[in-house]
């Protein structure tokens, strides 16, 4: 399996692709990439038949181990891995440990194990138990076992523990990985921890940088679940920068969690290559339909030519300053030579093991404001007689064939088709968003896309 970053001269952001996947030789996956969240091995609410109506593309899947741990014995007997077991053998599979859409209970990890919560109750995993499972599941890509039980509030001591334990787990997993016959076709990812500590991030990333891994998971920023969408980019910016700058530029980077679309864009600018679809899932589960502007609207937004002029002026408060992004062209440069802004460097000295100053940054009104930009709540009584589609410009099956009034009725009556129709739309909308991200990077117009995404969309 190879990860290749395109070195387009005009392009300041990372764009690339994964190819030569051993199990799926014909498949090429472009980055920045959306991994489809597949709880229990299926995309929530979508059978294979309906998934084909959403997209015929073989989108990569994100299967959290915690949601399939109960299948371990059966998949072992099956011998052909988790993708084939769940009926999705044509799909690339990535296995994480925790479920990004569900808050992970904290405080259950002890010295030698971490805890996951599959259906049959708490299960403790040490590196050997974890690797036994990975050997049975044979995912195309997986993360090493880690203790990422940290967030904005974690103490210095807890962060230290998390780093040390994760590094110890990593070495054991890598050792098993390298010895394993069945995992020869799989790629392992190192996991960068360090909570919200600059020094901790540096330590974890620097340690991992020298190992022969396919890429990295940036972990320990949150404990999963819907609350992640309320974290702002400012909450995590410095920590992400610190994590990334010590890692080899040419390797693949995943960040889990249901970040909101504005934050995702800023993270793409920093150099994250893959996200999961727990965000559209979370929106579906609360009866929402994504309606944010997911592509560059040529009518209202200046073209890429004017982007450069406007780039320095933040358009919204979620805006990221462009000079903080790491250049993607420098794949030949050794990691330590990467550009670091002066602002960042000074922070690194001041903030050793200090919880980020931006903690608690997001107020409730801010998050509901964000939700209004990004989604409609179909639970709202005002849609009871609204016979228009969720989004007029959308080409998904739901928008082509069904109305807001019908979906409102299905949600009111708790009918199973409600979340099915919302999933079809929300996944389509979010996959289109990722297409737009890749196009915008290629045409150097990411700033325009950011403005569109964070603009009030007057479709309702």
């Amino acid at each position: 399996m190879k990860f290749i970053l395109s070195s387009v001269a005009s392009c300041s952001n990372r764009i690339g692709y994964i190819k030569d996947i051993e199990r799926l030789p014909g498949l090429m996956l472009e980055t920045p990439m959306l991994l489809l969240y597949a709880k229990g091995g299926s995309i929530p609410h979508l059978t294979y038949e309906v998934l084909q109506m959403v997209t015929k593309d073989k989108q990569p899947l994100h299967i959290p181990i915690s949601t399939v741990a109960h299948c371990h014995e059966a998949v072992t007997a099956f011998r052909k891995g988790i993708a084939d077991f769940t009926g999705l053998k044509e799909y690339f599979t990535f296995c994480s440990i925790h479920d990004p859409a569900v808050a992970t209970p904290y405080g259950f990890n002890d010295k030698n194990t971490i805890s996951i919560w599959p259906r049959n109750g708490r299960k403790q995993l040490d590196p050997d138990k974890y690797m036994d499972m990975i050997e049975a599941f044979q995912p195309d890509m997986y993360q090493a076992l880690c203790d990422g039980d940290t967030d904005l509030k974690s103490s210095k001591k807890r962060i230290h523990k998390s780093i040390d334990k994760s590094l110890m787990f990593f070495e054991k997993c890598l050792e098993r990985h390298e010895k394993s016959e069945v995992l020869k076709k799989s790629a392992i990812l190192g996991v960068v921890e360090g909570g919200y500590s600059i020094e901790g991030r540096e330590k974890s990333a620097k340690y991992l940088a020298d190992f022969p891994v396919f890429g990295y998971v940036i972990d320990g920023l949150h404990k999963n679940g819907p609350d992640v969408e309320n974290l702002t980019f400012e909450d995590v910016r410095e920590i992400l920068e610190e994590s990334l700058k010590h890692l080899p530029n040419e390797k693949f980077r995943i960040l889990h969690g249901c970040w909101n679309p504005g934050t995702v864009l800023s993270m793409v600018e920093l150099g994250i290559d893959a996200f999961d679809s727990s965000y559209p899932y979370t929106v579906t589960e609360r009866g929402g339909a994504l309606i944010f502007q997911n592509c560059i609207n040529n009518l209202n937004i200046p073209s890429s030519a004017t982007d450069a002029l406007n780039a320095a002026e933040p358009v919204t408060d979620i805006e990221l300053k462009p000079e903080t992004s790491i250049s993607a062209q420098s794949s030949s440069e050794p990691p330590e030579k990467k550009k670091i802004s002066t602002q960042e460097a000074s922070h690194a000295e001041e903030d050793k093991y200090v919880v980020s100053k931006t903690q608690g940054h997001t107020t409730e009104s801010q998050s509901s404001r964000l939700n209004k930009i990004y989604e409609l709540s179909l639970l709202d009584e005002k849609y009871a007689e609204d016979f228009t589609p969720l989004s007029r410009s959308c080409s998904c099956l739901t928008c082509q064939k069904h109305t807001r009034a019908y979906i409102h009725h299905l949600l009111q009556t708790h009918e199973l088709l409600g979340p099915v129709l919302l999933t079809i739309h929300n996944l389509h909308h979010y996959m289109e968003f990722f297409k737009s991200i890749r196009e915008a990077i290629k045409s150097n117009s990411l700033e325009s896309l950011k403005r569109c995404v964070n603009e009030r969309n007057d479709v309702s």
Binding site: A77, F387, Y406, L410
Partner: protein, 404 residues
Amino acid sequence: MPVIGKKTALRFQIKAKCKVSKARSSSMGVIHHEVDTPVFMPVGTQGTLKGLLPDQLEALGCQIMLGNTYHLGTRPGPSVIMKAGGLHKFMNWNRALLTDSGGFQMVSLLKLAEITEEGVKFQSPYNGSEVMLTPERSIEIQNSIGADIIMQLDDVVRTTTTGPRVEEAMLRTTRWLDRCLGAHQNAATQSIFPIVQGGLSKALRTESVKQLIQRDVPGFAIGGLSGGESKNDFWKMVHLTTDLLPEDKPRYLMGVGFAVDLVVCCALGVDMFDCVFPTRTARFGCALTCSGQLNLKQKKYAKDFQPIDEGCDCSTCERYTRAYLHTIVTVEPVACHLLSVHNIAYQLRLMLSIRESIEQQRFPEFVCKFMANIYTNKEYPQWIVDALAAVNIHLDPADPTAEN
């Protein structure tokens, strides 16, 4: 007798009759679809069929679906459906629809229902207010829903009720039919079926049919069965009723949908069936096959890497194993969708096989083979043996597949 609704929105044409039993294969043309009968109608209570897209149902070969007037009349309500242009448009289903009258739900779901000559009085479960469902109101709601076939409001009594109440209900059902026909606004596009009542009494059933066939109606429903009576009583009432009903109109047996019941009642001359069973049982992890039911929750399927049914061509059996389904049934909604697809495919394929065997004059053989597959030890329940014998199909325990 009032003769209302001369212009009928339903054409019924018998294509083939079984030369042995009363089974027939027909074509029933309604505004939205040409329906092949005998037909099984899946129940889409609230304007949706258990998580399946209309496109999936069409692909499965579903020709007609049932909606419940009581539920639809409450949510989203007739006004929203009317503004949407009818239920077909509201749910984007382009084939045939049938709605019940709402009366059955009131009596079965609501404790406080009180039946008078005027209608069914009940307390709204939503706001506690007293509501009266009259025959006129039922038709008014069904007119706004716009299903191809609609049901008269009938006076429903428990199947096991005996005494004068059964007769009262039967007679009132006829009076209510006349009020329904009088209130009907869309005779050109919607057809009202009356409902044969009379409990388990031969005399009352006979009288009910005698009264109903004097009205100008395009088809008949057989009501008041499949509610806890013995199978012996059940088949005898169906047999009697189909003997009395005119041959050139469709007969709809309400609430029947177990595979063996479908096969027996087709032999007795029934054309239409509905039942929540295939989709309800899917929710509990149960899959239907030609050799019976599989409960996929059971441990024995944990390492069973076969599809539910090797012989099934549905989208579930094409891709999913029993072992994987075992890990998600009753937990993930996807499992419910996968089993609903399979179970509906099973029911619809069964009906297709019945129609084909009637058309090819091998229905009795089909019935024998079908029963032998279900009852592998050839110990057939007596009621099945008797019911089939009544229409000259003889299950021979010694050699069930023998042709006569």
